[in-house]
């Protein structure tokens, strides 16, 4: 009997070892996989039950979690929903997150790797888990001014501090109310989302960094001028042939200047005047002379072709490749297949404003743990040095002339030198224009670089120019920064 009992003991031991093993497999080995299973409601509830950190603008919450009696314990609230929607994005139960809510989800829920020690401490001290707060670089006054300036237009405004890359304002219209997507009734959230998604005005797009992208039109000439001078092939004074019409090679298309007129009045025009007056034909020739490879290198140095994390992902702007001569010439004044985000255009201005050094744009000033200790501080990172300081200085002077005595006159501010460039991009036969302004101020000590885009010709189809609609809007944004 003892022998049998000994064997039975071994059998029982094996049974228990099987249980020890199976629990270990579930709770340790497969734990992450099980936690990430989309059917696992616990992960969801715990992400809601932890007090999600707020998103702040100058210390004031633009997204915060308010305690409520539901099983989720907190309700996400956006006090100025539409104004800040492109920045905060939305935070839904289980339909995904966007904006900073999505990009910094780990920090906001307190589960980022940087907060690992805090989580351990919270386990032992029994505190409720709490996420980090995110302080943005947004200036509320500039943001509001930009929002007001854009009025009822569809479009976008982005303002960047050239010396740091800090984004001061980010406005996209039409906007939406993220509160409607943060409610706990999932079916209502899905319904709202589908309605927003189906809206032809695309309110969910953050037009400053994504959406359908825009033809840059003449604002692209800033990059062209910088490339032309920096390459050493052109100086501001270099004279370029200036015919009233230009037949594109191997094409029946004819390029004209805006309004079909002779740009500048002479047989030739200087590069500086071509930018100041925004002439298309001279820039088509500049592009043809520089060649696709050279322009492409400069475009990349300014940020084209790369998606940035600001920290949400931006859509990469496109400078086309493998173009024939006709398309190369078209793309040289911002038509053809050039596609850009307003952020990209603002980055070009910011780099010129900052002596040719392009800073990495960012929305995040700092990330702070609930105990106010800093997890991530302000960072000013250099993205690239697309052009020399000398080139930047020359381009700046050309852009100042564009505002003071050129095609961007509506951005003039009394007592301040404003550098600027307008754009009026064509979108095809009969389609309304896309109206642009980009620039910076004050020219001698730039505090802000902006890009303004207004869709649908500002409501006037093909009868409006960037200087009429976009420049005055940009002026109000610049003034808001300068009067701080």
């Amino acid at each position: 009997m003892t022998r049998e009992l000994r064997r039975l003991s071994i059998a029982v031991l094996i049974m228990f070892l099987a249980l020890f093993t199976s629990t270990t497999i579930i709770q340790v080995v497969q734990a992450d996989e099980l936690r990430n299973d989309p059917r696992n409601a616990r992960t969801l509830y715990s992400s809601y039950s932890a007090e999600r950190g707020p998103i702040l603008v100058d210390g004031t919450p633009i997204a915060q979690s308010v305690p409520d009696d539901s099983q989720y314990k907190f309700q996400r609230v956006y006090p100025s929903p539409e104004l800040y929607a492109p920045i905060t994005g939305y935070f839904t139960l289980n339909q995904g997150n966007s904006g900073l809510e999505g990009a910094l989800n780990d920090y906001l829920t307190g589960t980022s790797n940087a907060q690992f020690l805090d989580q351990i401490t919270a386990i032992f001290t029994g505190q409720n888990p709490k996420g980090a707060s995110v302080e943005t670089t947004i200036d509320p006054v500039v943001q509001q001014a930009a929002w007001d300036a854009l009025g009822d237009q569809s479009g976008a405004i982005i303002a960047i501090e050239p010396s740091s890359g800090a984004i001061l304002a980010m406005v996209s219209k039409p906007s939406y109310d993220p509160n409607a997507l943060a409610q706990h009734d999932t079916s209502a959230v899905i319904q709202t989302y589908q309605a927003l998604n189906a809206d032809p005005a695309n309110p969910l797009y953050n037009r400053t960094i994504g959406g359908n992208l825009y033809h840059p039109g003449s604002v692209f000439k800033v990059l062209m001028a910088a490339a032309a001078i920096d390459s050493g092939e052109f100086a501001p004074e270099t004279q370029i042939p200036n015919p009233p019409q230009l037949q594109l090679p191997q094409s029946s298309s004819i390029v004209t200047n805006a309004g079909g007129s002779l740009c500048g009045g002479g047989e030739t025009v200087s590069l500086a005047d071509a930018l100041r007056l925004s002439c298309n034909i001279p820039f088509a020739q500049v592009g043809a002379q520089l060649g696709e490879a050279t322009i492409s290198d400069y475009a990349k140095a300014f940020g084209f072709g790369e998606s940035l994390e600001i920290p949400m992902s931006t859509t990469a702007s496109v400078y086309p490749s493998d173009m024939d001569q006709a398309h190369l010439m078209l793309s040289s004044f911002g038509q053809g297949d050039d596609r850009v985000t307003p952020l990209q255009i603002a980055m070009i201005s910011a780099a010129i404003a900052n002596g040719g050094t392009l800073m990495v744009p960012t929305l995040v000033e700092s990330i702070n743990a609930p105990d106010l200790s800093e997890i991530k501080g302000p960072s000013a990172e250099v993205y690239s040095q697309p052009v020399t300081a000398q080139t930047a200085e020359l381009v700046k002077q050309m852009m100042v002339a564009g505002v003071s005595n050129g095609a961007a006159s509506n951005a003039r501010i009394d007592g301040v030198d404003v550098a600027g460039k307008t754009g009026t991009a064509e979108n095809g036969e009969g389609e309304p224009y896309t109206l642009w302004f980009t620039g910076f101020a004050p020219a001698d000590d730039p505090k802000v670089a902006v890009a303004v885009v207004v869709e649908n010709g500002g409501g006037r189809g093909q009868n409006a120019f960037g200087n009429q609609i976009a420049a005055p809007i940009a002026k109000r944004v610049l003034e808001a920064v300068l009067s701080r």
């Binding site: 022998r3 009992l5 049974m15 734990a31 099980l34 059917r39 616990r42």
Partner: protein
């Protein structure tokens, strides 16, 4: 092997009469000044602190405050346990000192989890499973005390083995009777006795263990020595097969008519193991396993619910199985809960065990895994393993074969039940509905397991007792 099995039960020593017990127990107490009982008392204090801590932390985690009323009623249970301890000092001073603290700890942790789940659902008073569990625990401890006092000599039980068999089978089949039988969650294992419903199958396991031990101790010679040898393994004669066929038929009846795979497996496994320990015949085990596996395979093909359990076990994460009625939803929810507990657990009252269906009964292990983590469930499994090993220790060191066999049977039934339930929850085997001993909500289960604990305590007392009686003048 001592041939004391043939001794007439009930006349085994001088401590049979009241006066004899008194003098001998006093004599023993003088010789060994209750070292074991003092150890037990110390461990009980730890158990009480653990249980009370679980209750208080569960309340704090759920509501942020403690409710003194329920803590007091929990403390009254402590008084019951202490009373048990005092009774043991008198009537079984050499009983194993670990059994009572272990079952008290497990029971306390179970009440803590059940009460914490009540706080989530907001039930109070008699609607609260936690309160009912406390009352049932009190009843179960009282019954256990009565058993320890009533059966001063376990060998009495051997005499009633056939009565025990009859009682066991009746209890097992009782839920099939129309009128009092009740079907819960598809399994017909409950009876309704007016004030409360009861799972008689839980008590049947004690009766059957007593029957198996008594029957096998007397019949093992014929079972082990007679029979044809096939392939080197001796198989029993047809006429000796009678009882095993009866038990097999009962197990299959439970499987088919009560639709309870777990209970069926539990009783048949218990019988086979006791048969093996008593007769040392592997042939029995093989025959029994072939019979059971044959029955189970047929059942899995023909009975929809068994088939569903197998699919849910093998292919739990398949969306079709997950979403089907009677599919793997509960199983997977339990796994999610345990995974969210991880290594250290979410803490009492801080997880979401309420998301798993039947978290208080069948799935209490997953709930504990969620809130106490791997560390906590390892501790619980270790306590169960120690409890079983204390029972086996009686099997190794006991003085009479009936007592040894009974102790092995009773401890193995706990081990097997733990394995069936927790193995089902953690996907070692297909999921079957059984209660986790001492932890899960349910009066019948508590009552049965406390009586088992009382019998083990009684049996363990003889292990130490006997040699000393022998050397006393």
């Amino acid at each position: 092997m001592p041939p004391n099995v043939s001794l007439p039960a009930g006349r085994t020593g001088p401590n049979d009469t009241g006066a004899g017990t008194l003098t001998s127990s006093i004599r023993i107490r003088l010789r060994t000044p209750a070292r074991l009982r003092n150890l037990e008392l110390f461990l009980l204090v730890l158990a009480g602190a653990l249980g009370l801590g679980a209750m208080a932390l569960g309340q704090l985690g759920m509501t942020g405050e403690t409710d003194a009323g329920i803590l007091w009623s929990f403390a009254i249970l402590g008084v019951f346990v202490l009373a048990f301890h005092v009774v043991l000092r008198v009537v079984a001073p050499n009983a194993d000192p670990f059994i009572l603290p272990i079952v008290s700890t497990l029971n306390g942790i179970g009440i803590g989890m059940i009460y914490r789940l009540d706080l989530y659902s907001g039930t109070t008073g008699w609607a609260s499973d936690g309160v009912r569990q406390i009352v049932w625990t009190a009843i179960a401890i009282a019954a256990a005390i009565a058993v320890v006092i009533a059966f001063r000599n376990h060998r009495v039980l051997q005499r009633y083995r056939y009565i025990a068999m009859f009682i066991g089978i009746v209890l097992l089949l009782l839920p099939l009777l129309p009128g009092i039988g009740r079907e819960v969650n598809g399994a017909r294992v409950w009876i309704n006795i007016g004030v409360a419903s009861f799972q008689p199958g839980e008590l049947a396991k004690i009766a059957l263990a007593v029957f198996f031990a008594g029957y096998l101790v007397t019949a093992r010679d014929t079972l082990s020595l007679v029979g044809k040898k096939v392939l080197g393994i001796r198989f029993p004669r047809m006429r000796d097969l009678g009882p095993i066929l009866v038990i097999w038929a009962a197990a299959m009846a439970v499987l088919v008519f009560q639709r309870d795979l777990g209970t069926s497996l539990l009783y048949f496994g218990l019988f086979l193991v006791m048969l093996y320990v008593a007769t040392a015949r592997v042939g029995w085990i093989i025959l029994g396993l072939v019979l059971f596996i044959g029955g189970a395979v047929v059942a899995s093909q023909t009975l929809g619910y068994v088939n569903g359990r197998f699919n849910a076990w093998l292919d739990a994460f398949n969306p079709a199985v997950y979403d089907s009625v009677g599919g793997s939803y509960q199983l997977v929810q339990g796994l999610f809960g345990m995974a969210s507990g991880g290594l250290l657990g979410n803490g009492w009252g801080l997880g979401r065990p309420d998301l798993t269906p039947l978290a208080k009964s069948d799935y209490i292990f997953a709930a504990l895994g969620e809130e106490l983590g791997l560390a906590g469930v390892f501790a619980i499994l270790a306590l169960m393993l120690i409890l079983v090993s204390r029972g086996f220790r009686i099997g190794f060191n006991g003085q009479d074969d009936f007592g040894r066999l009974l102790a092995v049977g009773l401890s193995f039934v706990i081990a097997l039940q733990v394995f069936i339930v927790i193995g089902g929850v953690t996907r070692v085997i297909p999921l079957t509905g059984l209660t986790t001993p001492f932890l899960a909500a349910g009066g019948s289960s508590l009552l049965a397991n406390w009586v088992i604990a009382a019998l083990l305590l009684r049996l363990s007392d003889t292990v130490r007792n006997q040699p000393r009686v022998v050397v006393s003048p």
